[in-house]
């Protein structure tokens, strides 16, 4: 599979390394080249400096042939915008994005985006731990 990941933070870098080690073709984007230090030295994919809400940068990352697009930057709005560009402008078959704000996640889920809120998920896990 060809996967484009936007945001090389802890989650993005971890995901990129996992997919890369399993033989998938990974391109990862970030606006800060320092963040690419999070990638393991064995990483054989592409690390690209640039903003994933910019069509031209997404094309350079190979969005036109991508099977999956994942948006995991720190900014909810950036994730939402890039995910919508991937889904509606480039027709990427699978698009997933992270939205911290639960209300925003709810809205974009109803608009057809596959979105996860770590806030809700982690709060739920903590609650279950406390109650167990």
């Amino acid at each position: 599979m060809k996967v484009v990941i936007m945001g090389c933070g802890r989650v993005g870098a971890q995901l990129a390394a996992l997919l890369d080690s399993e033989g998938h073709k990974v391109a990862i984007l970030d606006t800060d080249d320092y963040s690419f230090q999070r990638l393991p030295s064995a990483f054989s994919g592409t690390a690209l400096l640039g903003n994933g809400t910019d069509e031209d940068i997404l094309k350079r990352a190979g969005i036109e042939e991508a099977d999956v697009f994942v948006a995991v930057t720190q900014g909810d709005n950036r994730n939402v915008m890039a995910a919508q560009i991937a889904k509606h402008m480039f027709n990427v078959p699978k698009v997933i994005c992270r939205i911290y704000d639960p209300l925003r996640r709810e809205l974009y889920s109803t608009l057809g985006l596959e979105a996860f809120s770590p806030t809700t998920i982690f709060a739920q896990i903590l609650k279950e731990k406390i109650e167990s």
């Binding site: 910019d54 709005n77 915008m81 919508q84 509606h88 402008m89 809205l107």
Partner: protein
């Protein structure tokens, strides 16, 4: 009209001031407390501190009864989300977003934003109008029809000077609407109208035919 403005920067401030003068009811949402205080002290209590992309803030701002929401923060993605939340959660009839990257115009339109204003394009268009030697000026875009109204000036050395409109090989998607001669006399062109040096030609064209039209009128 009740208009909500997202972003109380320079653009948001002057925009609110102008719309207040026109008699509209205005509410500004601004994240920064200093900007918030500044706007309230200058324009009255029309500014709330908060994130205009958050549904709870928009709810408190009475977005449900807003006629229009204008997002003018400095970030294209924030403007997109504010407009989408307003449109899809609060059914605001008209949303307007400021954009910096001109390419976002097509994207925002596809994602449901009613109007986009690209500061980059506005500046570019003004420069084109101010530079008299520029061969082609965009006057107006008719967005929903995919057409534009342009102006072309005929230089004296152009091969088309002395020819009739009939003799020009105009692209099929272009129509010459008006010819303004050097003596400032406007004429509606017919097939037999003769092109003269310094004529200003106003034409309607599709963006794709623009280059062919320019060549037909001025030579390559």
């Amino acid at each position: 009209m009740y208009i909500i403005i997202i972003g109380g920067g320079e653009i948001g401030y002057y925009l609110s001031k102008a719309l207040l003068d026109e008699g509209h009811e205005i509410l500004v949402l601004e994240k920064n407390s200093a900007r918030n205080e500044f706007i309230c002290s200058e324009l009255g209590s029309i500014c709330i501190q908060g994130d205009g992309c958050e549904a709870t803030t928009l709810e408190a701002a009475g977005t449900g009864r807003a006629d229009m929401l204008i997002a003018v923060t400095g970030d294209d993605e924030d403007n997109l989300v504010a407009c989408q939340v307003a449109k899809y959660k609060f059914n605001v009839p008209r949303t307007i977003a400021r954009i910096k990257n001109p390419k976002n115009e097509a994207i925002f339109k596809k994602l449901g934003i009613d109007v986009t204003v690209s500061s980059t394009n506005v500046i570019l268009e003004n420069i084109e109008e101010e530079v008299p030697t520029h061969p082609l000026t965009h006057l107006l875009t008719i967005r929903d029809k995919g057409l534009e109204i342009i102006e072309i000036k005929i230089p004296p050395e152009s091969a088309t000077v002395g020819k009739t409109v009939k003799e020009l090989s105009l692209p099929s998607e272009s129509i010459l609407s008006l010819i303004i001669s050097e003596e400032r006399k406007p004429r509606v062109p017919t097939a037999l109208t003769v092109i003269q040096a310094e004529d200003q030609i106003i034409a309607v064209t599709s963006p794709e035919s623009e280059e062919a039209l320019r060549i037909a009128l001025r030579g390559a």
